[in-house]
């Protein structure tokens, strides 16, 4: 039994894109709306205010896709922050050495590559819909040949996988070259 697609609904928010100028904020809203991202122009809370006093609220979970879209359109922005104060994107990574393979964990994502060839053996963890896509795209490729998760994914899970990927590249290039 097959059913049809419908349009987006239910704006969650939770993320703020900060800009230097009001013009940039308005242009960004136009670009993102055209790409069917749900957004809202808002005044940033005083604690988060940098640059101009107009910001664009986005669904925080879509941070990766939003960043890529704005960069692709050459629209400059200062940064994307969670609305909730005190929230900070995890920066820390953990590394497990299996001998023949190295597993790098960032947040809820793990990337495992072959220690002698850098071929990506497995991607595990996560829960957002772009992760199975990235799994299929990245497996069996050498680190240097695999797509960067932030260039393909849309969600915070893909951003965590990107952290693990960048750290894996660093381990590979510094330790095994």
């Amino acid at each position: 039994m097959v059913f049809g697609f419908t349009k987006k609904n239910n704006f969650e928010g939770g993320g703020l894109v900060l800009f230097t100028s009001v013009e940039e904020a308005i242009a960004a809203e136009k670009i993102l709306k055209a790409a069917e991202y749900e957004t809202k122009l808002v005044a940033p809370p005083p604690k988060l205010r940098k640059g101009c006093d107009l910001a664009l609220e986005i669904n925080l979970i879509e941070k990766t896709g939003v960043e890529r879209m704005l960069r692709a359109k050459n629209l400059s922005f200062l940064e994307i922050l969670p609305v909730k104060s005190g929230s900070e994107l995890l920066q820390v990574v953990q590394v497990t050495d299996f001998g023949s393979a190295i597993m790098v964990k960032a947040g809820n994502m793990k990337l495992t590559f072959d220690s002698s060839s850098s071929v990506i053996l497995n991607v595990s963890g996560g829960g957002c819909p772009d992760i199975p896509f990235l799994h299929a795209e990245m497996l069996d490729k050498r680190l240097a040949e695999a797509p960067r998760p932030r260039d393909v994914g849309y969600t915070l899970c893909s951003l965590m996988l990107d952290r693990a990927f960048v750290e894996s590249l660093d381990i590979w290039s510094n330790g095994r070259k």
Binding site: M1, V2, E88, V92, M103, N122, G126, C128, P129, M160
Partner: protein, 294 residues
Amino acid sequence: MYLICGTVPKKDLPLTLGEVQFLGPVISLDGVEIPCTQGTAALISAACVTTGHFRLSPPRALLVGDDGTGKGSRVLYDYLIKNISALSPGVLLLHYMLPVMGLMKKVCESVSKAKKRPFMIADAAAMYAAKAAGLSASFDLFTPDLSEMAFLADPDAMHPAYVSRHLFESDASKIPELVAAAYRHKNAAKMLMVKGSTDYIAADGKIVGTISEPDVPTLEAIGGTGDTISGMAGAFIHGGFRPLDAAQWTFRANRMAGQYAGATPATRIREIIEALPRVFDEHLEGWKKTDKSS
């Protein structure tokens, strides 16, 4: 009915509801073949193998293509909101989908209108949405790994990417504390199956079981080994087994399948799933006899 809902990496797949079959390299839904890889496909595969062992009706799946934009996920949420009450599954498992708190809330409201409340399981981003929306207590079972357990324990995090550093850096020995914090903040389902080097089972705030044998550390690296746990647990519950038994047998079976498959960091999830029938044949009767609650 055991209903599994999620997204799959087949962008053009419209929302599709039907019986699923595990065919080895792929699962089949309404004639559509989906590779048995990490994610909801792996979960369904393990569920099919488990229901097959008990000669139960196979799971039904409600799947949609979504590459991460969330378009497919929103169609899935909308369908559930409108139809879950009429579908009235005995076990409802929500898995890979964009975490949208408002829509998850509506799904839970619709579920509450069903004549008979299903046994509710959430894993992956469906669990993230349930926790972030303050709906954890509406669920009977969550199946987090260690990092996701830290997320449930963090009252402020809306996604595992925003977990406090000190919670993220907790090692497996801290799981009882994380479990206690999650229950304290009302961010836990009635039962938790926490996947890790030692697997923990918690119910209503207390640790009620741990499983650490056989020890197969490479399982953590293999994409899909958490998904198989959720799929199997749902299948055991669909078969009428008690949740605690379902949790214990699931953890043991997953580890044993890893051992039988000779799991390495390069092993693919399909190899683990294909080892499950041997595990069930050789061990399940013994586990049933030795577990007091059965």
